[in-house]
């Protein structure tokens, strides 16, 4: 993010950094694409990986700061979303690129998948797990994993059937064994929360 001027007032820098980071992340940086290929399952296929990244960018673009969060049953506490994580994530992509240049003299996107993974792993060693949605992720790689693995597409891929979690499906079909997953029924690339439990 070296394009931020050092003489602008701090608050303006913060505001500008947020919008610039979002613009940066949503404008198809090669590093994000390369990161996705390195950490998402290759079994997904090139096209769907691209859709996941596009969905992730869309998610970042739609993030609203200080939005009221759902106040669940049995809980009267109000909570709000925090600052956009985009600034941090954009910096982390730059850090990956810088690390690639330092280690291999090439951009992150120019490295092999194995070389990229070697650079990503140290950043994730301290993490506990894949979050149930991107917003809590400290690292952009973890956010991308959270985004994908919370999606109906990921569930279908794992179970190798078409479940279509959280999508509108005929009620009468629910008693049947889910049908094998096909490309036609690949499911949508949309993150959903995996931490919802039935209420009352």
């Amino acid at each position: 993010m070296g394009w931020l001027a050092g003489t602008i007032p701090a608050a303006a820098i913060v505001r500008g950094a947020h919008s610039a980071s979002i613009a940066y992340l949503t404008s198809a940086p090669a590093t994000l694409d390369a990161l996705a290929v390195a950490i998402l399952p290759a079994e997904l296929g090139t096209g769907p990986i691209g859709q996941v990244v596009a969905g992730f960018r869309h998610w970042i673009d739609g993030y609203r700061e200080n939005a009221e969060l759902n106040h669940g049953y049995g809980n009267s506490r109000l909570r709000f979303t925090g600052p956009t994580p985009a600034t941090r994530w954009a910096q982390q992509l730059d850090d990956l690129d810088a690390a690639a240049q330092a280690a291999h003299g090439a951009s992150f996107a120019a490295l092999t998948v194995a070389q990229r993974r070697d650079l990503v792993r140290p950043a994730l060693v301290a993490e506990r797990g894949i979050p149930s949605s991107p917003d809590g992720a400290t690292h952009v790689g973890l956010a991308l994993l959270g985004f994908f693995y919370a999606s109906p597409l990921a569930t279908d891929l794992c179970y190798e059937v078409s479940i279509g979690r959280n999508t509108c499906r005929p009620l009468g079909e629910s008693s049947k064994h889910p049908v094998p997953r096909s490309k036609r029924s690949a499911g949508r690339v949309l993150t959903v929360r995996t931490d919802i439990e039935a209420g009352s």
């Binding site: 999508t167 009620l171 629910s174």
Partner: protein, 526 residues
């Protein structure tokens, strides 16, 4: 301060699910003019709910904007901040079991707590009426455990493939289960579409397959059968000392706080749920009602009730596919039956679950996995399934389980806020450990029957489906309202729904609140 007066035959205070039942019945069966007063805003229109759901799914945002009022932060375990047209039932799960006959006869059967002044049979026709109004889908359980005089209005939500396997599993442990009754349309019903498993019943159904009170309010408003006044907080009920009747209610229009709004009516119905109903009666203390309206017994705000729960996750050698319809469950009332021994009763519900079976970042050796490694690991671990099991159990309320006026905290307009404290009666305190142990033993039996393993258990430290505060009874010295919800002290003042409950059973209670409210409406209509 200016004054504005609104007149009607009946003034209903609150617009939650019990209020909707009362207003609907009065509108159908009488010619009375009805005004409904709601402190909160209108709910998000149906057309906008799909978008709100997407924001909830993607970002965790509250799908009900402006559903609470700032400044109403309460000391104590408030169930929800929701305060809008439709109340908390705008984001309920739509789960609608009935109480069991034994719930109304604790003293007679178990020698503890108090009997209700009505029986299950008294309430049965109103259960049916509520089920028809809300479009409840259900199946008849074993009659001894699940008595009812008429069929459900809608066929049961089908058991998912997962629940079919879990039902077989429970039967191996000798436990009869059936489809949880739910106010979700299993087929198109009265203008509502059939459920299509969007699976976000809590907090929001994007298509209106699940009943919510706005579905009652909207046609009543369109037909000008009621007048619904929003954003207006009732702060006092005013007593006519000569007649002992309530003469009017005083409200504050949040949009015009310098204007006093008076509601004059022949009958007043307090339908503010377990917290705000008692709060209003206590706030209304005045000459002739020194400790609050309807409070000669001193019991307004007392005997708050509900139920506790124990929950567990059980790993099973079953191939389950989480996500088919996660919010639907199996139900058993087998453990709600009277045994003549100690007062230990609980329900049992079973859900599919993915708990502990999600994708993970690190393998067992602690190494970070990337790419296909994560997927392969996830597949291996999800080859077998997990069930979530939970039992609500009965808690007898103590007199000191109470809502009081908080001397230290005030609303933005200067009234004391309520303060909540749930306390179990000594009989329940003594039984708590044994009750929870018995439930855990049931979970262990279930696990063994399926060659599975209980992987973790938990208890919530709050009472779910809270009720009480204006308990019903025949004795005016020991209760606030009679069995119809009419206050003992004021002939034209009713309290309806949750606050009138004597005890909280061990089952989701909303349908019972609705049935009680409909029974009250029958008396109000006279």
């Amino acid at each position: 301060m200016t004054r504005r007066a609104i007149e009607a035959d009946v003034c209903v205070i609150g617009s939650g699910i019990s209020a909707a039942m009362v207003a609907d019945k009065l509108a159908r069966e009488t010619k009375k003019t009805i005004v409904v007063v709601e402190a909160g805003d209108d709910a998000l229109p149906m057309a906008a709910r799909g978008g709100a759901r997407e924001r909830f799914l993607g970002y965790g945002e509250n799908p009900w904007p402006n559903d609470h009022i700032d400044g109403l932060e309460i000391d104590g375990p408030l169930q929800s901040r929701s305060m809008l047209v439709g109340g908390l039932a705008m984001h309920w799960g739509g789960v609608t079991p009935r109480f069991a006959p034994d719930d109304f006869r604790h003293r007679t059967i178990f020698g503890v707590g108090d009997d209700w002044p009505i029986s299950y049979d008294d309430l049965d026709p109103f259960y049916q009426e509520a089920e028809e109004l809300m479009g409840v889908a259900g199946e008849q359980g074993p009659r001894a455990m699940d008595p009812r005089s008429k069929p459900f209005p809608l066929p049961a939500l089908p058991l998912t493939y997962n629940l079919g396997l879990l039902k077989e599993w429970a039967s191996k442990a000798g436990i009869a289960t059936w489809s949880q009754p739910s106010a979700k349309a299993s087929a198109a019903y009265r203008g509502r579409p059939a459920c299509c498993r969007n699976d976000t019943c809590t907090p929001i159904c994007p298509i209106g397959a699940k009943y919510s009170p706005d579905m009652t309010w909207q046609p009543l408003r369109s037909a000008n059968r009621i007048r619904l006044v929003t954003r207006t907080i009732i702060r006092r009920l005013v007593l006519d000392r000569s007649s002992g009747r309530i003469s009017h209610a005083i409200g504050l229009d949040r949009a015009r706080p310098n204007e006093q709004v008076e509601f004059h009516a022949k009958q007043f119905v307090v339908a503010g749920g377990y917290a705000w109903s008692s709060h209003l009666l206590l706030l209304s203390a005045q000459a002739g009602a020194d400790s609050g309206i309807a409070n000669r017994s001193g019991l307004v705000g007392k005997y708050l009730t509900g139920h506790r729960n124990v929950q567990a996750y059980v790993s099973l050698p079953l191939r389950l596919f989480p996500g088919i319809n996660e919010q639907h469950s199996l139900l058993s009332k087998q453990f709600m039956r009277a045994t003549g021994g100690d007062f230990i009763r609980h329900d049992l519900r079973i859900w599919e679950s993915a708990s502990g079976k999600g994708p993970r970042l690190k393998n067992d050796a602690g190494a970070v996995m990337l790419g296909d490694e994560i997927l392969t690991d996830w597949r291996q671990r999800s080859a077998t399934g997990v069930a979530r099991v939970r039992s609500y159990y009965d808690v007898l309320p103590d007199r000191s389980s109470e809502l009081t006026l908080d001397a230290t905290r005030k609303t933005p307009w200067g009234d004391p806020l309520p303060k909540l404290a749930f306390r179990d009666a000594p009989a329940s305190v003594a039984l708590r450990a044994r009750t929870e142990e018995k439930i855990r033993a049931v979970f262990q039996d279930l696990a063994r029957a399926g060659n599975g393993q209980v992987i973790r258990t938990a208890t919530d430290n709050f009472q779910d489906h809270p009720a009480g505060g204006c308990r019903m009874g025949d004795d005016a010295a020991a209760s606030v309202v009679d069995s119809w919800g009419r206050t003992h002290d004021h002939e034209n003042l009713f309290v309806v729904g949750a606050p009138t409950c004597v005890s909280g059973s061990c089952a989701n209670a909303t349908l019972t609140f609705c049935a009680l409210a409909l029974r009250s409406a029958l008396e109000i209509a006279k």
